[in-house]
Amino acid sequence: MKINIKYFASLREQANKSEEIIETTYAKPSEIYNELKKKYNFSLELNELKVAVNDCYEDFNYEMKEMDTLVYIPPVAGG
């Protein structure tokens, strides 16, 4: 399955890209993050993140579909 991933803040810097389409055999954001964490050596743990699918907050067990847009949200710091 192909998934569109967007990266922000520290994840964008560590992946060295803002967006990519990946091919994965996993369907849950939690599983996909573990795969990406190994690939890019992300320093943030899963329990420090939130996740958004198609521009809405979802949980890490959400069942992804072909070409969904997935964003991992590092700890926010507005204000």
Binding site: F8, R12, E48, V71, P74, P75, V76, A77, G78, G79
Partner: protein, 142 residues
């Protein structure tokens, strides 16, 4: 209304939300300060996930209107590379009576810091210290 701006938001301070039934206006200015946790800060870089930030921002304002007896609420957040003293966030709340306007204004800034996908990177005066993405320690574990 909740807005994101990549240019100066100083002019928003001239906006008037006053209506005839309005008895109080509370505003909040969040500015870039020159220090954080013992370090001298030179500038701040804000990054936003804009589509979700606008949705979450609107959700906060809607929740605020349901929770407090206010007439209206507005918030704008600046993004991009900001210097010391720059206005980063501006909030205005109008109400019939002052108490709810004060409470609502504080609620909005607290919620913006918790849920709106905006990040900030601190750049330090001491160049031997690497710039880093910062967050509110007590809020960041879910």
């Amino acid at each position: 209304m909740f807005e994101i701006s990549s240019t100066s938001i100083e002019e928003y301070k001239n906006k008037s939300f006053v209506t005839p039934e309005c008895g109080g206006v509370v505003t909040f200015e969040g500015r870039v300060r020159n220090h954080n946790e013992g370090q001298s800060v030179e500038s701040l870089e804000y990054e936003v996930y804009d589509v979700l930030a606008l949705k979450e921002g609107e959700k906060i304002l809607k929740e605020t209107k349901g929770k407090f007896d206010i007439l209206d609420a507005f918030c704008v957040h600046r993004v991009g590379h900001l210097q010391i003293g720059d206005l980063a966030v501006w909030i205005a709340v109008t109400s019939k009576h002052r108490r709810d306007a004060f409470r609502a204004c504080e609620f909005i800034i607290d919620e913006v810091k918790k849920t709106v996908p905006i990040w900030k990177k601190e750049h330090y005066a001491d160049k031997s210290i690497d710039s880093k993405w910062v967050f509110c320690e007590e809020d960041h574990r879910h």
